[in-house]
């Protein structure tokens, strides 16, 4: 028995070692770097100590960081809200007896498997102020031409739209799986009791979808707060940082300005924010059926 346990530990130790080396190691190193000034070029053992000054600078003086934080929150709120509502709405439609259900599912899911950069480049053309197809449609309807990605007031909203287009298919599939896991008996019983469609949704579908909702909201929020590729490939944070997000600013700070200490501090601040928001979301949305 003891010999078997030793073998078990031996097998388990390999992935744990890999986890420590490739995940925990970089995290701890990044934390250490965040307390220094490091340009990535000088030897690590010569990094000047800065204490918490990187954190203080980011939270009190770095206007771009504060702006990007605000933009990222708006992106997350808009994206998560739209993905949740649209995802659930389309999933309800697909869960009904709509014709060509398999085809709709494929169509909705296609943007999810499209390369994000390809999608970003495509939408840069679609939303172009002067020759983009969306503006051609808008002006054909007699409405004024819009700047979209090149306008400081519209760039972020346009990015949210693109992100929702890209990911809503994924959440539809998740919601659909959740809906199909709800036993038909509940609806039958409710109908016997005279419940309407709205009451069924309010008192059966929504409560029983709570674990799915939690998964969708938490994973979508984490992803949205870490958005990078879409913004990098479309606006690069322009115009005038109106679409700058935290991770893009982190990338610029690290690799364009050679301030790895400050970029690492940004990563830890973002980590803390994500952790806090996730805990709040879990607290609010977790299934209390069994606790009660």
């Amino acid at each position: 028995m003891r010999r078997r346990m030793l073998w078990a530990y031996a097998f388990v130790s390999a992935p744990i070692f890999a986890l420590l080396l490739f995940l925990l190691g970089p995290i701890l190193f990044s934390g250490w770097v965040s307390l220094h000034r490091w340009d990535m070029l000088s030897p690590v053992n010569e990094m000047p100590w800065r204490g918490f000054s990187n954190y203080v600078f980011l939270l009190t003086k770095d206007k771009v960081f504060l702006k990007s934080l605000g933009n990222t929150f708006l992106f997350a709120i808009g994206g998560v809200g739209a993905n949740t509502i649209l995802g659930l709405g389309f999933a309800l439609l697909l869960n009904s007896h709509i014709r060509g259900r398999a085809l709709w599912r494929v169509l909705y899911f296609m943007p999810v498997i499209t390369a994000p950069l390809a999608l970003a480049v495509m939408f840069s053309f679609i939303f172009d102020r002067n020759f983009g197809v969306v503006n051609n449609i808008i002006t054909a309807l007699g409405l004024p031409r819009q700047p979209f990605l090149s306008g400081p007031q519209q760039a972020l909203i346009t990015l949210i739209f693109i992100a929702v287009y890209q990911f809503v298919g994924y959440y539809i599939v998740i919601f659909l799986a959740g809906l199909q896991g709800i036993p038909q008996d509940y609806y039958d019983a409710a109908q016997v009791d005279g419940a309407g469609a709205l009451q069924e949704f309010r008192f059966i579908t929504l409560p029983l979808l709570r674990p799915v909702m939690l998964f969708v909201v938490v994973t979508n929020t984490i992803g949205a707060l870490q958005v990078f590729d879409l913004v990098f490939a479309t606006t690069g944070g322009a115009p005038a940082n109106s679409s700058m997000t935290v991770v893009l600013h982190m990338y610029n700070t690290a690799f364009k300005f050679s301030r790895m200490g400050r970029a690492s501090a940004m990563a830890f601040i973002l980590f803390a924010i994500i952790m806090l928001i996730t805990l709040i979301q879990v607290r609010l949305l977790q299934d209390r059926t069994y606790q009660d």
């Binding site: 051609n136 002006t139 690069g236 005038a240």
Partner: protein, 433 residues
């Protein structure tokens, strides 16, 4: 001795001998990192490399290219990962950062002597740090000029390019055309948005032609927040208001298609313009001096430089310097260097070395490059400082804010001045630590 044991010894010695002779015959391999990545540019560089390897069969050279936008990141991450190139070709603005971090190897005495004998002092200064140390072979020297579309100017009723900012504003507004739906089909003057090269062209070019400075002479404080600087940004705002420019249009991207009237650009653009289908290089492309601003007295411009240098971690520094020297040296009088040939005939850029400027004088005498050659006589070198890239990016963001009406020229420059001075101060303290 036991015959078996003897046989083992013989076998072992034969094995060791084979490995050591193989090691002795092994090539020195150099990696060169550049940003010249188009098909033509790759072929031209490979031809130079092949010629060198034919003369030096014990050296193998691998060429790696990345887009300019990723070059600095590639250098930094490559070094951090321990896979840095031996030879770099990079933008001189990054020199102080790289030197402070110990990225670069000092050139050999022979290399320094050759550079000092064959390059103008101003260009040598552009690839040297403030202590007078030169760090590599300067390659192209690129001043900026106003590049304009003669056909579009003529259609708007002008037969000569603008000489001052009032004329620039009027012409830009006259050239711009907007269709019934509000789409800009033709733009007067192109600015850069979303890329911090907008600081050298057009901002610094216009600032200098308005009598302003970017940094103080000793490079310790920012001086762009001046009446001249504010006038420069006001020019942007005025042109946006009059429709002469629009940040949603890429001036550099659309000029070759013949739909932008004027941009501020460098000589190396000749290859692009020659290949462009929307504009006839010989008859439609014109080059003029940067229009003079209300506070300026004469046209001015800014010039930047690139250099070849060696990584301090390179295990083959002498071979790397030898290769760089071979590329840049004139091996036969009057024929110029291999790099000079590529710069002038391949790109249209102005080479740094005197022998290349003489050897390729004819190639630089066309209507396009000759105007830049004339400007190189008075263009002011871009001031290089540690943290310069960050300052450029901060200023570019504020310029975009002016272009999109989010802030005023005064507020934009005041905001960046404060941050730029903090960066300069921080870099000075870092250097002293």
């Amino acid at each position: 001795m036991n015959p078996k044991r003897l046989l083992c010894f013989v076998f072992l010695f034969a094995l060791l001998g084979a490995f050591s002779s193989a090691a002795l015959a092994q090539d020195t391999t150099l990696t060169m990192l550049t940003h010249w990545g188009t098909e033509d540019q790759l072929a031209a560089q490979q031809a130079i490399i092949d010629a060198y390897m034919a003369e030096n069969p014990d050296v193998a050279i691998e060429l790696v290219t990345v887009d300019f936008g990723e070059l600095r990141t590639k250098i930094i991450t490559g070094r951090t990962a321990g896979i840095s190139a031996d030879v770099y070709h990079f933008y001189h603005l990054w020199l102080p950062d790289f030197v402070n971090a110990g990225v670069l190897a000092e050139p050999t005495q022979d290399a320094l002597s050759y550079i000092n004998e064959n390059v103008a002092q101003g260009t040598i200064d552009a690839v040297s740090t403030s202590d007078g140390q030169t760090w590599g072979y300067p390659t192209e020297v690129n001043p900026y000029q106003l590049v304009y579309n003669k056909r579009l100017l003529a259609e708007a009723g002008y037969d000569a390019p603008p000489a001052n900012w009032d004329e620039l504003k009027d012409m830009a507004a006259a050239i711009t055309q907007v269709d019934d739906t509000g789409a800009i089909t033709q733009l007067g003057f192109g600015v850069i948005a979303g890329w911090d090269s907008g600081i050298v062209h057009p901002f610094s070019s216009l600032l200098f032609s308005n009598g302003g400075n970017f940094l103080s002479e000793d490079r310790t404080v920012a001086e762009f927040n001046s009446p001249e600087g504010i006038e420069t940004l006001q020019l942007y705002a005025d042109m946006v208001a009059s429709g002469g420019t629009d940040p949603s249009i890429s001036g550099l991207g659309d000029f070759p298609s013949g739909t932008v009237g004027m941009v501020i650009m460098a000589p190396w653009w000749r290859a692009t313009l020659r290949a462009a289908e929307g504009i006839d290089f010989d008859t439609e492309v014109g080059v003029a001096e940067i229009p003079v601003g209300p506070s300026g007295e004469a046209p001015s411009s800014i010039a930047y430089t690139w250099l070849f240098a060696v990584d301090s971690n390179s295990p083959n520094k002498p071979a790397a310097w030898d290769f760089i020297h071979w590329m840049n040296a004139e091996h036969e009088e009057g024929v110029g260097s291999a790099i000079g040939d590529f710069l002038v005939n391949g790109l249209g850029a102005i080479p740094s070395f005197d022998h290349d400027q003489a050897a390729f004088a004819e190639s630089m005498s066309d209507h396009y490059v000759s105007a830049f050659v004339a400007a190189s006589a008075y263009a002011r070198p871009e001031q290089i400082v540690a943290g310069g890239q960050e300052i450029k990016t901060l200023l570019q963001v504020e310029i975009e804010a002016v272009l999109t009406g989010m802030t005023s020229p005064e507020d934009a420059l005041a905001s960046v001045e404060m941050q730029a001075n903090a960066i300069l101060e921080e870099q000075r303290m870092m250097a002293e630590e």
